[in-house]
């Protein structure tokens, strides 16, 4: 789907432009931007984009929701929109009605294992759970002792939450479930597992990273056309041009990988192996791009980009932080590599060429 046709994403983009301007947020030490922004997003139905109307959501398509996430990345949005969308998506798979307010989800990484006990309580610990501290509810994928997966809705105040911040200054917390009684718990769909949940999260983060890279490119190009050194615009130096060309390349690769993976997940006809390749590759490639792109964007900006007052860090540090969520690039690379090897050399090209 082209963003131009995606009205949901356009709505989001408009709200971000009005209420999540990077410079305004950066200058506002009191966080007074936060409540109006979330209110506007909620009123537009965006946090529950992926929840059917019967469950209290706005029933957008996966593709439309993915467009929202790209836009959120371009804005380096510091509220749990992606997390609430993902939580809503997970709850919908469990046919659980969605509550209002900020949500997040578990698993946030491949080591998160939550147990559904015989008495229908949840036990376990999850690390690096984005925005847990700001969430009212948590959508959880849990497994019983027979490894059968269930989806649960948990009130955040029932959990122990150890607070910490990621590189970008957003919450990434440790959540401990100590025989927590969920608000609701239902069986997960057939075939749904930890990997399915992580892949969806990985694609969400890939889109956000790609979006932030688009913005890094834009503000770096603009800065290079303004800043003068050695008596000319720095954009006229071949070294700067080539650096920006590389940044454009990384941004383009991230964009291509992320949107292709989103399209693969949005297409019900995509074979499972192809979806895995797409989603894992997106997270790997976007994360690799984040490091290179952030380094170039900072290099082009020089000292000014290193200040807290400049908005550049809003994009660079979030892009770097997002690499860690829902499986790092190293994790997905090992998993992808193992699959490729297990399938054998002669199956590699058919897999790559499957879409």
């Amino acid at each position: 789907m082209e963003d131009a046709e995606n009205i949901v994403a356009q709505t989001a983009e408009r709200i971000f432009a009005d209420l999540a301007d990077a410079q305004t947020i950066n200058s506002d030490k009191k966080g007074s931007w936060k409540a109006p922004l979330w209110r506007a997003l909620s009123e537009a139905g965006l946090p529950l984009s992926w929840v059917a109307e019967e469950y209290g959501g706005s029933g957008a398509t996966l593709a439309e929701g993915f467009g929202v996430l790209s836009a959120a990345g371009r804005s380096a949005l510091p509220v749990p929109l992606a997390e609430t969308m993902l939580a809503g998506w997970l709850l919908s798979l469990g046919k659980i009605a969605c509550p209002e307010g900020e949500m997040t989800l578990v698993p946030a990484g491949p080591k998160d294992r939550i147990t559904l006990n015989g008495d229908a309580t949840l036990s376990g610990r999850a690390r690096g759970v984005p925005f847990a501290k700001e969430a009212r509810h948590i959508a959880v994928l849990a497994h019983d002792e027979k490894a059968k997966p269930s989806i649960a809705l948990v009130s955040a105040d029932k959990c122990r939450i150890e607070s910490s911040l990621n590189l970008g200054g957003d919450h990434t917390d440790i959540v401990t479930f100590d025989r927590v009684t969920p608000v609701a718990v239902k069986p997960a769909p057939d075939d749904f597992d930890l990997t399915s949940a992580l892949l969806m999260g990985a694609v969400a983060r890939s889109l956000q990273i790609a979006g932030s890279l688009e913005s890094m490119l834009e503000i770096s190009v603009r800065y290079s056309n303004e800043r003068v050194a050695f008596e000319k615009k720095i954009s006229k130096f071949q070294a700067v041009q080539h650096n920006l060309a590389r940044l454009a390349g990384e941004s383009a690769a991230a964009l291509a990988a992320a949107t292709s993976a989103a399209d693969a997940l949005a297409d019900p006809a995509t074979p499972k192996d192809a979806a895995f390749l797409e989603a894992a590759s997106a997270k790997i490639r976007c994360s690799e791009a984040a490091e290179k792109a952030a380094a170039i964007a900072h290099q082009v900006h020089g000292a000014i980009g290193f200040t807290i007052e400049h908005i550049l860090h809003r994009y660079t540090l979030r892009a770097l932080a997002w690499r860690d969520d829902f499986g790092s690039e190293s994790y997905w690379a090992v998993e992808l590599g193992k699959r490729v090897a297990a399938n054998g050399a002669d199956e590699l090209w058919p897999l790559v060429a499957s879409r």
Partner: protein, 386 residues
């Protein structure tokens, strides 16, 4: 956005899936018949004329061209599928590749009807081989420094000078070349070059093969001494080749051949590490596959833009820039990852031989058809920096 770079996801339509199966079946037959060995990229494949004809007979040359010229009016995406399958199989495409990719489209656009009716159907049948005469001894990346002269003569032009690094000139039937018809002007240093169709059988053309570090003789020096080219072999505007060069090079910049040149070593690595690699090898393979997949999706996306009638010069340049650097480094990464592979695995020697050839091939990948430096300049221009 300053630069509206777009790489929309393309879902290959069902006809592509079907076509891919046909191409694979065809290639499997050719391999079985001994036409080529997919594990040996380092053979001299300069003369596989029969293979070319069979590819043509399948309708896989001139795929996107009008039927009246022997083409098949199929999509760029279908052409893409054929190209990537051929490349991945290491099929001997040299004889028809340039004609199909570059020369045919130039003729379609700039040649007169008689020439089009004469040559294009033969390209589609896989009967003719083309070369491209751009570089000269003192003009490499800087095409507009070309000095080989085309002097007006009765009914045509006399060519004098030397082209160099001309791939396949030793087996080519035709060359599309740029020659100097006027000096450049102060206002426009790109002025004064004209594009010509050259019949390689013309008297006064001498082809001297140049050995490569790979051991192959793939490119050549081509010396013109009063070689006569008839007037109607001018392609496009006299003195105006520079206007034609940009769009033409777009064809060159983003095809699957721009990141698959050394792909075979990755397949062979996967074979060598076996079904249960350690974390080190698994991660390395996973990253390489993710990078490859991403470039391919970018490249497919560019094919989609070509199909939609766009001229994605910047996007295509990005694919080539990233792609050629990747395929250049690939043999070195594969060597690293294969460092602990047992010398007794069955494909050890194949892998070693492939790595050696790929490493020798590697340096040219970021030079030929637009260097890294030239590509980044194009991208920078697209970003509004120059």
């Amino acid at each position: 956005m300053t630069a509206a770079l777009r790489f929309d996801p393309i879902r290959l339509p069902p006809e592509c899936v079907k076509l891919r199966q046909e191409v694979r079946a065809f290639l499997a037959e050719e391999i079985a018949a001994g036409t080529f060995d997919p594990h040996k990229p380092n053979r001299e494949d300069s003369d596989a004329p029969e293979f070319s004809r069979r590819v043509g007979a399948r309708g896989w040359l001139g795929m996107t061209w009008p039927r009246k010229y022997g083409g098949h009016e199929r999509t760029f995406l279908e052409r893409y599928v054929v190209t990537e399958e051929m490349r991945v199989a290491n099929a001997p495409t040299r004889r028809f590749f340039v004609a199909d990719r570059q020369s045919g489209p130039v003729l379609l656009k700039y040649a007169n009807e008689r020439i089009k009716m004469d040559i294009l159907p033969r390209i589609c049948r896989g009967e003719v081989c083309f070369a491209i005469g751009m570089s000269e001894p003192n003009s490499g990346s800087d095409l507009f420094a070309a000095k080989t002269r085309a002097t007006k003569a009765d009914g045509g032009f006399l060519i004098n000078g030397t082209k160099i690094w001309t791939s396949s000139a030793h087996i080519a039937d035709y060359m599309i070349a740029i020659f100097r018809t006027s000096p450049s002007t102060k206002e426009n240093r790109r002025h004064g070059l004209t594009q010509f169709l050259v019949d390689m059988k013309t008297p006064g053309i001498k082809v001297n093969p140049i050995g490569q570090i790979t051991g192959q003789f793939e490119f050549n020096e081509v010396v013109f001494t009063d070689a006569f080219i008839p007037e109607d072999h001018v392609l496009g505007e006299i003195d105006g080749a520079w206007k034609q060069a940009t769009s033409e090079l777009a064809y060159e910049r983003s095809g699957p051949e721009r990141f698959l040149e050394t792909y075979y070593v990755l397949t062979e690595l996967v074979r060598a590490v076996g079904p249960s690699p350690d974390t080190r090898a698994a991660e390395g393979i996973g990253r390489l596959v993710a990078q490859l997949h991403t470039m391919r999706r970018m490249s497919v996306s560019v094919a989609g833009m070509l199909q939609a009638g766009k001229e994605p010069v910047v996007e295509a340049s990005i694919v080539k820039d990233i792609g050629t650097i990747w395929e250049q480094q690939l043999p070195h990464r594969v060597r690293d990852l294969a460092a602990f592979v047992d010398a007794d695995v069955t494909n050890h020697e194949t892998l070693e031989n492939q790595l050696a050839f790929a490493m020798k091939t590697a340096p040219k990948l970021t030079i030929q058809g637009g260097t890294t430096e030239v590509l980044r300049g194009i991208i920078a221009r697209g970003l509004g920096l120059r």
